[in-house]
Symmetry: C2
C-alpha cells in the first residue's frame, strides 16, 4: 500500500458538512426566491478573470489580497475578490444588448488571501442584487422592500433597516463650506458608534483642521433622533442653501413613504443620518440592516445608490442601486440566536430496514411518501432497530417508520416521533398523511 | 477621463446572462430537490486545495489541465478539476465524525485549462450525488430512482437508463481466461457504438493479442439484445464458472426489480451489457442515461459503484455508488429540443408606470400580487406605454398590468396577455387571481 496523502484543507478555507450547508442553502434559496419575486434575474460570471479587469483603478488593500497567477497561456489572471467589479465588467459588455433597466442578482464565491484572524475566511459567498440604468426612486424603494421581505422570511426576529442619503451629508458640508474636508470628516464620523462624540470631534479637528464649532455642527446632524417624520422636519435648516441637501431630504421622504406603501412595516425603517457607508462610492440613498436581538454583529445587509457602475469599462453611464446580503454573518447570527436547527439530513423520515425480504415493498412505501412531498431516506443496511434509531437521532430525522414482519402481514407501520419518542400504529395507506400531520404540514 | 479597460472574459470562460442562467438555475434547483427527497445532504468544499491533495496518484491528462500556482504563503495550490477527488478528501476527513451510510450531493464549479475547441469550457458546473459506506443493493436502486425521478421532472421527454454490472464483463473474461487482457479488450469494446463490431474485433486481436474466436465471444456479450428478462436469462452460460460473473447477474436482477418496485417505469431501464464506463474505477453497477429524442448527445447522467472512494487519504474502506449529472449537456439538449423558454426575467408580470402620482398605489398593487405568489416587476421609469410593452416583450414577461388615471379612479386595471395580445379589464381586488388564471396556475 502506498503512503497516504494527508487529507487537509488550506488555511482560511473550509469544508461545509451537511449541518452547516443545509441552513446555508436554505438562506440562499430564500434570498433567490425573494429577488426573483421582484423581477431580479440571475447572472453568473467567471471565477477567474484578467487581472487587469479586476484591478480596476487598483492600489487598494484588496488588490494585495488577490489570488493572482499566470495561466497556461501566460495570461495574468486572478480569482475575483467580490461580485461588484465582475458585474461592472459584465454590464459594460452585456447591457448594450440586454437593455436597461436591468435587475440582476448574483450568488457566488469570492476569494481574498487576507489575514484569517477573527473568523475570517479566504473563500466566502457573496449574494448581491442591483438595479442599474435608472435613477428612479422606485428602484430605491424596491431595494428596501426586498431587504424587508427577505429578513421577514429568514425568521431572524425583529430587524431595523437604517436609511440615509449621502446627499444630506454633502448638503451639510456645503452649508458649512467644508466640502473639501469631506473625506477626513466622514471618516471620523463613521467611527461615532465605536469611539463616541468627543473623540470624533477631536479627530475632526486634528485630521480635517476644522474648528470645534464646525465639528459640533457635523456631529449635531448625526445626533438627530426620534421618528422619521421628526428627523425629516429637522433636516432642512441643517442643509439650508444646498440644492443637493434639499434634494436628499426630499428623496428620503419619497423613498420612506414608498417603502411603507409597498408593504414595509414603518417601524422597521429608521432614518439614521450618521450612516455614510464609505467615502466615495455611494452618492444617494445608503442603508444598513441590523438585528434588534443582536445589534453587535453589525449590518447583515448593506448597500446604496451609486452614480455610475462601470465607468472603468464603458462610456455609457449606468447609475444604479443595490445591496449585498451578508450570508456568513446572518448564519452566525442565526446560530447565536439559537434559530438554527441541528440537522444533518434533509430527509424528515427514515424508513427502517431489517433485511432484504421486503425490499420491494419498502421501496414502494418510500415512493408513496415521496409522492406526498416528504423527503425520505431508506436505511440501506439490515441492522438492529436500536442502531437505526440512534442513526436517525444523530442525523436529525424527525420521524422513523418501522415495518416488521407483523406489520407487513397486517399492512400497517409503526410511526415513531423521534423528538417526543411517541409511537403509533398507522395503516400503510394512511402513512403519508400521518407523517405530514406529525410534521405540522 | 482615464483610458477605459477593455471589458472581456478569458478564453474558455463565459458570462451567463439571465436567458442562460434562468434555465440553469431551474435545472440545478430541480436536481437538488430530488436529491434531498431521497435524503442526500448538501456539502461544499473549497475551490482551492493543496495540489498534493488534488493530484492524488497523479500522472493523467487532467493533471496537466489544473490551474496550479503558489499562494501568498508559498503553498503549492490548485483549483479543483472535479468534485470526486475533493469528496474523497472530504470523506477521509469528515466521515469518521459524520458516520456512515453517508449520502451527499455537491453542486459547484470546477476548472480545467483544456482545449476550448468543440464547445468545451474551462469552467463548468458539476452536480454529483453519492452514497458511501454501504454495499447494499438498495443504494444502487436508489441511485437509479433518483435519476429516473430527476429526468421525469426535467421534462426532457422519454429517456433510457442503460444499466450494466462490471462484474459481468469480468466474469466473461474469467471464463475465457482473458482477465489479463481486460484493459485493451474493454477499451476496444467501449468503441463498439462508434466503429462497429468488425473494427472492434480487429482491435481486440491486434491490441490484446486474442484469437478471432475469443474476440467474437466478448462481442457476443455486447450483442445481447431484447428485454431485460431475456438478457438476464442469456447471461449465466456466458459467465459460467465465474463467481464474480454469477454475482453480477444476480445483483443486476435484484437492482432492476428493486427500481421497478420503487416506482421506476420498467421500460426506462435497459440492461446493456456493453457499458463498461472506463477501465478501473467502477467495480459493480454502471449506468448511462440517454435521451430517446436526442441519443447523439450522449449520456447526460452517468455513474456506478466503486469499491473504495478515499484510499489515497485514509485506510478506512468506503465503498459507494453515485452519479454525475451533465448540467451543460442537458441544457444543450433542452435547447436543441426546443424545450427552453426564451425568458430574460423571472417575473411573470410587468406593472406599467406612467408617472410618480400613483407610485404608492402601484407599489401596493405589486405587493398584493407578490403576496399571491406572483413574481412582479414594476417598471421604474415613466415612459410611453408602447415602450414599456416592448420592454416586457423582449424580456419575456407573460403579462402586463396597465393602470392609467381612469383605472385608478374606478379601481380597475387592464390585464394584457403578451403572448395572445388579449386585453381585459379586471377589478384591482381580483387582479392576482386573474393573473394566476392567465398563467394556468
Amino acid at each position: 500500500m502506498s503512503k497516504l496523502i494527508q487529507p487537509r484543507t488550506l488555511k482560511g478555507f473550509r469544508d461545509h458538512v451537511p449541518a452547516s450547508m443545509i441552513p446555508r442553502e436554505r438562506l440562499i434559496d430564500t434570498a433567490r426566491e425573494v429577488y426573483r419575486s421582484f423581477g431580479f434575474a440571475p447572472i453568473d460570471t467567471p471565477a477567474l478573470e484578467y487581472t487587469e479587469v479586476l484591478l480596476g483603478k487598483g492600489g487598494d488593500e484588496t488588490d494585495k489580497q488577490m489570488y493572482r497567477f499566470s495561466d497556461h497561456g501566460g495570461r495574468d489572471v486572478a480569482l475575483r475578490f467580490d461580485l461588484t467589479i465582475p458585474f461592472a465588467r459584465f454590464a459594460a459588455q452585456n447591457v448594450p444588448s440586454l437593455g436597461t433597466p436591468f435587475k440582476r442578482y448574483h450568488v457566488g464565491p469570492v476569494w481574498r488571501g487576507e489575514n484569517t484572524q477573527r473568523g475570517r475566511y479566504r473563500e466566502f459567498v457573496q449574494c448581491d442584487f442591483d438595479t442599474i440604468g435608472t435613477e428612479s426612486p422606485l428602484a430605491d424603494v424596491e431595494t428596501l422592500l426586498v431587504i424587508h421581505e427577505l429578513f421577514q422570511r429568514l425568521e431572524v426576529g425583529p430587524f431595523t433597516i437604517h436609511v440615509n442619503d449621502r446627499k444630506i451629508l454633502t448638503g451639510l458640508l456645503e452649508r458649512l463650506e467644508l466640502v473639501d474636508q469631506a473625506v477626513p470628516l466622514l471618516r471620523a464620523l463613521d467611527k461615532l458608534d465605536k469611539i463616541g462624540p468627543e473623540k470624533v470631534s477631536a479627530e475632526m479637528q486634528a485630521e480635517a483642521g476644522v474648528s470645534a464649532g464646525a465639528a459640533e455642527e457635523v456631529l449635531a446632524l448625526a445626533r438627530l433622533e426620534g421618528d422619521n417624520a421628526a428627523i425629516l422636519d429637522a433636516l432642512p435648516p441643517l442643509v439650508e442653501g444646498s440644492e443637493l441637501g434639499a434634494a436628499g431630504v426630499e428623496r428620503l421622504a419619497t423613498v420612506l413613504a414608498g417603502a411603507v406603501a409597498g408593504g414595509a412595516q414603518a417601524d422597521r425603517l429608521q432614518l439614521d443620518v450618521a450612516i455614510a457607508r464609505g467615502l466615495d462610492y455611494y452618492t444617494g440613498i445608503v442603508f444598513e440592516t441590523t438585528l434588534d436581538d443582536l445589534p453587535a454583529i453589525g449590518s447583515c445587509c448593506s448597500g446604496g445608490r451609486y452614480d455610475d457602475l462601470a465607468s472603468l469599462y464603458t462610456k455609457e453611464r449606468l447609475p444604479g442601486v443595490g445591496a449585498s446580503l451578508g450570508v456568513d454573518r446572518l448564519l452566525a447570527a442565526l446560530e447565536e440566536l439559537g434559530r438554527l436547527e441541528a440537522r444533518s439530513t434533509p430527509a424528515e423520515v427514515l424508513l427502517v430496514r431489517f433485511g432484504d425480504q421486503h425490499d420491494g415493498e419498502l421501496l414502494g412505501l418510500a415512493a408513496q411518501l415521496r409522492a406526498a412531498g416528504l423527503a425520505v431516506e431508506v436505511y440501506p443496511e439490515a441492522r438492529k432497530l436500536g442502531a437505526q434509531l440512534k442513526f436517525a437521532d444523530r442525523r436529525g430525522h424527525r420521524l422513523a417508520v418501522v415495518v416488521g414482519d407483523a406489520e407487513w402481514a397486517s399492512g400497517s407501520a409503526q410511526l415513531k416521533d423521534l423528538a417526543s419518542k411517541e409511537s403509533s400504529e398507522v395503516a400503510q395507506g394512511e402513512l403519508a398523511e400521518a407523517c405530514l400531520r406529525r410534521l405540522g404540514r
